[in-house]
């Protein structure tokens, strides 16, 4: 049986000037922008249509846990630099450092999810489910979708840290490109949070 090989996964495609995998991940991120864009648009619509935001009164910063969200923002920012350093380690041919930085990225992703769990748990204890009002509906939808993206990142990064590392021995350049592509996705997840944090928690 002949093996199908996707061309230009290491060298740049002469048409685009970049490897196909990288172009594909940017196309995927473009679709992700539209996914989150639609939900941000819903947020704007719900907010402008409400006589008061949040509907039950007070301020978002009084209803949601700002200190925990601030810690989570720092956790994500830190995970972004560990992610880029894991890629840089691959470029410099240091697999040991790649493992260290990638493991740190995954650990920080779990920290983010654990903090998010405590936030959600507290809201559920108070009986504040997505059905409570529009504020909680959009809060849980946006942060929930973002959380799913974090889980997706953990799966990909864990693959690269474990089974995926085998490629390092056979094709290190291709492996480095894979890490870069995973990094692009991870930074996008961080980028979404950069806007979610002030929009939901502070304004």
């Amino acid at each position: 049986m002949s093996e199908t090989v996707i061309p230009y996964m290491v060298k740049p495609n002469p048409v685009t000037g970049i490897p196909n995998g990288k172009f594909a991940i940017w196309l995927f991120l473009a679709s992700e922008v539209m996914l989150f864009g639609a939900l941000f648009s819903s947020y704007v619509l719900l907010r402008t249509g409400a006589p008061h935001w949040p509907p039950e009164g007070g301020l978002s910063s009084e209803i949601l846990n700002v200190p925990l969200a601030t810690i989570n923002t720092m956790v994500l920012i830190t995970s972004s630099i560990t992610m880029v350093l894991s890629w840089a380690s691959c470029k410099l041919g240091d697999l040991r450092k790649f493992r260290m930085w990638m493991a740190s990225t995954i650990a920080l992703s779990f920290v983010f999810l654990v903090i998010k769990y405590f936030e959600y748990h507290h809201k559920f204890e108070l009986g504040h489910y997505p059905s409570h009002d529009n504020f909680y509906a959009i809060y849980f939808t946006l942060t929930g979708l973002h959380g799913i993206h974090i889980i997706g990142g953990i799966i990909v990064n864990t693959f690269l840290l474990t089974i995926g590392t085998r490629m390092w021995k056979t094709d290190p350049e291709h492996f480095t490109n894979r890490v870069e592509n995973a990094g692009l996705y991870w930074h996008f997840v961080d980028l979404v949070w950069i806007f979610l944090f002030p929009a939901l928690y502070l304004l």
């Binding site: 740049p12 685009t16 539209m34 648009s41 402008t48 920012i77 630099i81 502070l202």
Partner: protein, 104 residues
């Protein structure tokens, strides 16, 4: 990173310093965002300030961590198209509510 450019480890290590600098900038801007929220500015001003700071942070992540600063034209063309449709999706509902004289 430019995939076609020859790899120079010495030049590359300079980027590492850039990554740490961006990390510090992002941490500082996060602190400023939270700090400004405690000033209890009026809502339009608070939204404006938060959006400006978030945009600066997002630009730093995209330019340095995602290497947009040295990316090929095809990526910029793709992003320009994405930004256009993103703004369209974002602004359409806002424009409909503007007719009622109320926005945010």
């Amino acid at each position: 990173m430019d995939a076609a450019a020859p790899f120079d480890p010495v030049e590359f290590k300079k980027h590492l310093r850039q990554y740490y600098a961006v990390f510090v900038a992002l941490a500082c801007l996060t602190a400023i965002t939270v700090g400004v929220s405690y000033l209890r500015l009026n809502r339009p001003l608070a939204i404006g300030v938060a959006l400006v700071i978030a945009s600066i942070k997002a630009s730093l992540v995209a330019a340095v961590f995602m290497h947009l600063i040295s990316e090929k034209k095809v990526i910029f063309a793709l992003l320009a198209l994405t930004v256009f449709f993103f703004l369209l999706v974002l602004l359409l509902p806002a424009m409909t509510t503007l007719e009622g004289g109320r926005i945010l």
